[in-house]
Symmetry: C3
Amino acid sequence: MEIDPSARLGSNVVVGRNAVIESGVTIGDHVTIGYGTIVRSGTSIGNGVVIGDLTVLGKRPSGNKKKVLKPPERLPPLIIGDGSSIGSNCVIYLGVTLGADVLVGDLAGIRELVEVGESSIVGRNVIVEPHTIIGRFVTIQTSSYITSNMLIEDEAFIGPCCSTSNDKYMGSGSFVHQGPIVGRRAKIGNNATLLPGVRIGEKAVVGAGAVITRDVPPGCTFVGNPGRPIAGRRENG
Amino acid sequence: MEIDPSARLGSNVVVGRNAVIESGVTIGDHVTIGYGTIVRSGTSIGNGVVIGDLTVLGKRPSGNKKKVLKPPERLPPLIIGDGSSIGSNCVIYLGVTLGADVLVGDLAGIRELVEVGESSIVGRNVIVEPHTIIGRFVTIQTSSYITSNMLIEDEAFIGPCCSTSNDKYMGSGSFVHQGPIVGRRAKIGNNATLLPGVRIGEKAVVGAGAVITRDVPPGCTFVGNPGRPIAGRRENG
Amino acid sequence: MEIDPSARLGSNVVVGRNAVIESGVTIGDHVTIGYGTIVRSGTSIGNGVVIGDLTVLGKRPSGNKKKVLKPPERLPPLIIGDGSSIGSNCVIYLGVTLGADVLVGDLAGIRELVEVGESSIVGRNVIVEPHTIIGRFVTIQTSSYITSNMLIEDEAFIGPCCSTSNDKYMGSGSFVHQGPIVGRRAKIGNNATLLPGVRIGEKAVVGAGAVITRDVPPGCTFVGNPGRPIAGRRENG
C-alpha cells in the first residue's frame, strides 16, 4: 500500500495491500480499508467505517465534448459518515456526502454532489447520478437507477431494478432536467419506471413493473402501463 | 502478488501481479488467477478454473443496523468447481458453491449461501442475492437480478435484464420473503418482472417485458402487464 | 506499476501505481492511466486518452462448454481513439474499436468485435455484447443493455435501463441471432424493452417502459405494452 505523508489516520486503521491513500485524506478511528482500494485526495472517512476491496473513493468527474453540463471546477471532498459501510468494486465521486451508518453495496456508483442521509441503503449495482438528494432511512435496492436532480424523502423504499429519468426531450436540447420526487415512506415496486418530474406522494405505492407517467397522489397505489390507480387513500400506511 | 504460506496451490497455477491469496485457500491444478484479484480466507478453487482480473472471492457479508436479516456468524467457504470460469471485477461471497463448468460473467455479484449447479451461466452484471438455488444447465443472461430465497430449476433460461422480488410488503415488516420459483426448462423474456413467490411452471414462457403477478402454469405463455396467457400448453417444448 | 519493455509509450504518459501494461501495448501522448488498471497485450491507446482506476482493457474472451458461439481464435487488438475517456472498474475486450472522443462510463463492459463511432457515449454500468455497431454521436445512458448483432445509427439516443434482445427462441437452438436496429436520431425512453430484430425507424420515439414487439416506422412514437403508435410522423424531428 501507499499512504501519502499528508494523510491523517486515526487509531486502529487497517489498510489492505495495494491500497492507495492520496494527499490530504482524513481517516477516523477503527477503520478498515480493503485491498487495492483507491482513496483520492481530500476524502474524509469517519470513525468505524468499513470499505471493501478494489473500490474508488473521491473520483473527479471527467468532461466530454458532447455533454451539456460540465462538472464544476471545484468540488467539495467526499465525506463518509461514522459507521458507514462501502462495498467492493464501487466508484464514488468527489462532492458526495454520506451520513452516518449508510450502507453502499458492491459494484455501486455514486456521482458528484449527491447527499445520502443517515442509515440509508444504496444497494449493490445501484447508480446514483449527480445533484440528487436521498433522505434518512431510505432503502434503494439492488440494480436500481437513480437519475440526477431527484429527491427521495425519508424512509422511502425503492425496490430492485427501478428506473428513473429526468429528460422529457431525451437529449434534444438544454431544457431543465428534473428527476422524480419520491415522497416520505412511499414504496416503489421492482422494475418500475418513473418518468421525468413525476411526484410519488407520501405513503403512495407503485406496483412492480408499473410505468408512472403522471403524479401519484399521497397514499394511492398505481399499477400497470401506463400506471393507473387501483385503490384510494390507505387509512394508516 | 502475496500468497499466504498456509495456502495450498496445485501444479501449473498462474497468479497475476498484485493478486492476494489469503490463509487457508486451496487451489487445484492448471488454475489461472488474474491481476489484482483477491482470494479471501478458506476459498476452495477446483482444477482448471480461470479467474479474471480485479475480482473478489470469498467476501464476508457486512451487517447494517437497519437490516432485519443478519448474516450468520459462521459461513462455509466459497467453493468453485472444476473447469469453472469467473470474470473480471466480480464480487462473490463466502458460503457460495459453484458446480463444475460454471461460467460467471464480468461485473457479477453473488451473495452468501447461493448454490449454482454444473454448467450453468451467471451472466455479466448479474446480481444473485442470498439463500437462492440455481440448478444445472441454467442460463441467466446479462444484467438480470435474482432475488433471495429463489429457486431456478435445471435448464431454465432467464433472458437479459429480468427483475425478481421477494417482499410483498416492500420493507414494511418481518414477513417471510419468498422469491419466484422458475420451473425446469422455463424461459423468461428480457426485462420481464416477476413478483414475490410466483411460480413459473415447467416449460412455461414469459414474454419480454411481461409483469408476472400470478402463477404461470406449465407449458403456458404469458405476456403483457399484468401478464396474461396467450397460448395453451405447447405440444413438445 | 509494471510496464513490459516491449510497450511503446508517448510523451507525458502518467501510469498509476499497481497498473500493469503488457507486451506490445502502444500508448500515445498525454495519456493518463489510473491506479491498478490492466492493459492487456496489443492494446492501442490514442493521444489525450484518460483511463480510470481498476479497469481491464483488452481482455480475451473465454469459452464455456454450453456456449454455441465460440470466440474466434484470433482477434484484433482493442483500439481506443484520440481524446477518449474510459471510466473506472470497466472491462473492455479485444477486438473493440472506440473512435475519437468516445466516453465510456464507470463499471461498463464492452465485449469483443464492437465498434463505437466518434463522440459517442457508452454510459456507466452499460453492457455491450459482441458483434454490435454503434454509430457517431450516439448516447447510451446508464445501465442500458445492448445485445449482440445490434446496429445503432448516428445520433440515436438510448435512455437509461433500456433492454434489448436478439434470440427469439431463447436458447432453444442455433437460430440466427439478430438484435434490434435503432435508426438515425431515434430516441428510446428509459426502461424500454426491444424484442429481437425490431427496427426503430429514423427519428422514431419509443416511450419510457414501452415493450416494442414490431417495427416502429420512421418518425412515429410508440408507447405501452405491447407498444402501439400514439402519433403520426412528426414534422421536424
